[in-house]
């Protein structure tokens, strides 16, 4: 039994739900993200938020998987502040829907000034509504710098770090995230993020507290079964079943249960 706390099912086929259920997935959370192209207007996001809060929970339920979501305009589309503010104005209309956990995946992409402005407006919205936050950290060479800026911005807004998950950490960012009291997510994604082997190494070096794994499977080359494959890697090394259960079920359950909307049934 496991939870995949970050996966983009709008980009996946129904067969993937079927395979995930067969592998033991009981719940997922789906952050709003970049569709691979820039949406031309706020209405495009309104339609997307409807898909996340209505269509996907029904599709997941066919396979006994509980679906939850996070809403935002993602950092890849945040350079246009005018559009971002139009989308931000639409988000509160969806926040009372029963599967919404909070704001995400917000963060930075290229670490630009406009991205930071939009990030801070999302943080303010989450704080004002008492919502959890799921944070995307930048890719590759931009990750270390962006992670530092993000952590500083969240702290500056006085948000409790225990209610924020900083995602896509790797060896060079995991320590700074955990040391400042945040939760951290390791994304099991080919080529650009962690492998199951490296994620297991990170558990061995940094422990299993406030740390989870996810697939972030999306429209790119990615693997919706990455979490069970990491569980298998830990098992292959001889780690205890209790530890494997902790990182792939209990930790996400503990963090996500801070939202009253998170339910496994």
């Amino acid at each position: 039994m496991y939870i995949d706390p970050h996966i983009h099912m709008v980009s996946r086929t129904t067969d993937d739900y079927q395979r995930m259920a067969a592998a033991g997935c009981v719940a997922i959370t789906e952050p709003a993200f970049w569709a691979g192209y820039d949406r031309s207007c706020a209405q495009g996001f309104v339609d997307y938020f409807g898909q996340l809060t209505d269509t996907e929970p029904k599709r997941a339920a066919q396979f006994g998987i509980k679906h939850h979501t996070w809403l935002c305009i993602n950092p890849k589309e945040s350079e246009d502040i005018g559009l971002a503010r139009e989308v931000l104005a639409e988000i509160p209309k969806f926040l009372d829907r029963p599967s919404v956990l909070g704001i995400g995946e917000i963060g930075l992409n290229k670490n630009s000034r406009n991205e930071l402005v939009v990030l801070e407006e999302h943080i303010a919205l989450a704080k004002s509504r008492g919502l959890l936050i799921l944070v995307h950290t930048p890719h590759l060479e931009d990750k270390m710098k962006g992670t530092r800026i993000i952590l500083d911005a969240i702290k500056a807004h006085g948000v409790d770090p225990a209610r924020v998950l900083i995602d896509h950490v790797e060896e060079h960012t995991v320590r700074m995230v955990l040391d400042r009291g945040f939760w951290a997510g390791m994304t099991l994604y080919p080529d650009t993020k962690c492998t199951p082997q490296r994620a297991t190494d990170i558990f061995e070096m940094h422990g299993t507290d406030r740390l989870w794994i996810n697939s972030a499977a999306d429209w790119g080359i990615s693997d919706p079964l990455a979490v069970p494959k990491c569980r298998e890697e830990m098992r292959r090394r001889g780690h205890l079943e209790a530890l494997i259960h902790k990182v792939s079920f209990q930790n996400p359950q503990t963090f996500l249960s801070q939202s009253p909307n998170f339910r496994l049934r």
Binding site: S112, L116, E141, D142, K145, M205
Partner: protein, 107 residues
């Protein structure tokens, strides 16, 4: 750090992972050979002299792997990272290439 112990002995680590990483080293060797053959065919600089940021970053990381110091994965990622601190004025692209240009001392 408050990590947990690795259950495998050094010998078990090698038994379990050697062939996988042998193949990865061969992939890197073949990539550099491919780059050099292309350079020879099209008249460009080879992997030892190229100005391509990514190839230089890869070769610098290979040097780091053999320095005998711990935390190689973290240090490689830091080597390839942007170490500036201020937000950039404008994002002109969405993508990242995987490595920043290295300071001259690290080339």
């Amino acid at each position: 750090m408050s990590g947990m112990s690795i259950p495998l002995t050094p010998h078990q680590v090698v038994d379990q992972y050697f062939l996988e990483h042998r193949a990865k080293v061969l992939d890197i060797a073949a990539f550099l050979d491919r780059f050099d053959r292309a350079a020879a065919a099209f008249g460009g600089a080879d992997s030892a002299t190229t100005d391509d940021v990514r190839v230089r970053a890869l070769c610098a990381a290979l040097d780091l792997l053999r320095d005998g110091q711990p935390q190689r994965a973290r240090r490689v990622l830091e080597l390839w990272s942007d170490h500036s601190v201020d937000p950039i004025p404008t994002a002109h692209t969405k993508g990242a290439i995987g490595a920043m240009p290295l300071p001259d001392a690290k080339r």
